[in-house]
């Protein structure tokens, strides 16, 4: 029988080992050709940019992209042979497309910051516009009343659309009744309703009939129409992810269908359902047309959801962005910045909650 003896020298050697990542090592030939494939097209385009006056978009799309494709193709061919060419085409296009969307996003946010950041200040967030005229300097006034309005309207819209949306999703995934295809179709069709139509609809049946004023409530109704399909469809996807084992498990314990849904399925999908709600809110929060029609406008802070017309961030932007006063325009851009930050916060929240472990 052979025994393995312990050799102290080996241990010493082992302890001197450094952590490495051998799979990251690339042959020099590979590194060189990739470097060339990246640098040469960039240099050519940079030279053209400095020496000629071809517009930048054309430079990028018509010259840089094909050049880069060719260069990468050659590099791939040099290192991996013909089978590398298809790979390189896909990779270059994927990187190019992602870069393009990042650039679009960054320039949107960038222009908001450039034009709106000057407006931001504590009083911009907390004051309303009662004594403010378009020519008032940025030292006074704010969008506090619009923020209150947006939050109130979104809250009302959620109150209406979330229960209905979840109930719709439950009908589709849990009840699985005969009408499922029709309900699905209806929800899908609803998600195609233009927001201005939702606003007009509420204007005609709620405001014009005299049932309610232009108000947070009427605005909330219009928003609810737009939110509902998003909430319902996202909640449906999320409920579908709940494993059937849990449903069967609950039924095997002598549970009714209704109790199974309320106590097991929905709680198991809780984080996903919160995500559905937040996505619904993010869907509507920037919609302007429905609120112009259903909620109206106001310079004062309104908290009564039924009483009177109410301001909101999107309508505030709409009302100020085209005025011939630089400060009013800056305020509009500032509000847009606030709105996009609000949406970003909502999405982050959705991410964080969606990731959160299920406790209790």
């Amino acid at each position: 029988m052979s025994t393995i003896t312990f050799d102290p020298r080996t241990l010493e050697q082992l302890q001197q080992q450094k952590s490495m990542r051998p799979w990251r090592k690339k042959p020099t030939r590979f590194t060189a050709s990739v470097t060339l494939a990246v640098v040469i097209p960039a240099l050519i385009v940079a030279a053209l940019y400095l020496t000629s006056d071809i517009p930048v978009p054309i430079l990028l799309v018509v010259i840089y992209l094909p050049l880069q494709l060719i260069a990468s193709g050659i590099a791939a061919w040099a290192t991996k042979g013909t089978r590398g060419i298809a790979d390189s085409v896909i990779i270059v296009n994927a990187i190019g497309a992602s870069l393009f969307s990042v650039i679009v996003l960054v320039s949107v946010i960038g222009s908001l910051i450039v034009r709106g950041l000057r407006a931001l200040s504590p009083h911009f967030l907390f004051q309303n516009s009662v004594y403010i005229s378009p020519s008032t300097p940025l030292d006074y006034g704010g969008i506090g009343h619009s923020l209150v309005g947006t939050l109130l309207i979104v809250f009302i819209a959620s109150l209406i659309s979330v229960p209905i949306g979840i109930a719709t999703a439950v009908y589709i995934t849990e009840v699985r009744g005969r009408a499922v295809p029709y309900v699905r179709f209806f929800v899908q069709a609803m998600s195609g309703v233009p927001s201005v139509v939702a606003g007009l609809f509420i204007l005609t049946i709620v405001v014009a009939t005299g049932a309610f004023n232009q108000s947070a409530f009427a605005g909330g109704l219009a928003y609810a129409i737009l939110m509902l399909p998003t909430v319902a469809r996202t909640a449906e996807e999320v409920l579908k992810l709940v494993p059937d084992d849990l449903r069967t498990g609950a039924l095997a314990l002598g549970s009714t269908r209704a109790r199974t849904v309320l106590r097991v399925v929905i709680p198991a999908a809780r984080t996903g359902i919160i995500t559905a709600v937040i996505l619904g809110v993010a869907r509507v929060i920037g919609e302007t047309a429905p609120l112009l029609l259903a909620a109206g406008n106001n310079d004062q802070t309104v908290v009564n959801p039924f009483g009177s017309p109410i301001s909101s961030v999107p309508t505030y932007i709409f009302n100020n962005v085209a005025l011939p006063y630089p400060d009013a325009v800056t305020r509009a851009w500032g509000s847009a910045l606030v709105l996009i930050i609000l949406v970003a916060i909502l999405f982050t929240l959705a991410r964080v909650i969606g990731r959160g472990r299920v406790g209790r």
Binding site: P243, D245, L246, T248, G249, A250, L251, A252, L253, G254, S255, T256, R259, T260, R263, V264, P267, A268, R270, R357, V358, G359, R360
Partner: protein, 281 residues
Amino acid sequence: MSTAEFEDVMDLDIEGVEASTVHPVGPTEMEARDVSVWFGQRKVLEGVNIVFPKKTVTALIGPSGCGKSTFIRTLNRLHELIPGAALAGSVLYEGKDIYDAAVDPVSIRLQIGMVFQKPNPFPSMTIRGNVLSGLKLSGMKRDNHDDIVEETLTAAGLWNEVKDRLGNAAGDLSGGQQQRLVIARALAVQPHVLLMDEPCSALDPASTLKIEETIRELSKEVTIIIVTHNMQQAVRVSDYTAFFLAEEGTPGHVVEQGATTEIFGNPQEQRTLDYVNGRFG
């Protein structure tokens, strides 16, 4: 031959067969009579007759796809939840057909609990919440929840491992622990019968042994019907065994059944002998 004479002969014959296969000890808890099952047009089980005596363990063995899971799910009316499912014959529980129109499937499932192949604790609940979930879900009233939690977790062989963290999420437990938690959950509603569909197939050997101990212990109180692919397990835990088989394009049926010692020690059918000795399946 007169009718009476014919019956006499038949009776004798049937008794002769039964004597060698079924050992009717004590009162009967459940009985499947001529159970046949379809999924859509496809017949997957044919004419299953098994008697389950009270407070015994019956093992259902047989190759994959022969209809063991399907059969066990007919015993607590979970089968009917599958779209396209159909059934003929009857399942008696305490002498009454559970498929009678007047019977509420919910009350049947409350008395005939089930543990599945894959542990399925409710992820939104704590360990304690899972144990008590059956009470909430079925609306059953029982006092002293703390005692119930301790008793059932002890019976499932899990108490010592979790007693200090009853408030933790059930998902934090290992697979073997989750399966024992699910057993405790099933016990908390005090079922008379416990169905187990390959409860150990996803578990490590140590957890498997723990669950086997639990089964032996539980059989003093409840009737257990367990599907298993593990021959040693069938021998270790069961009093009776039924061997299912679905031959080439035919529906599954029971080839042989009887005391576990007989099925494994002295099977009457060549196919049973081959299967229990691992020659197919």
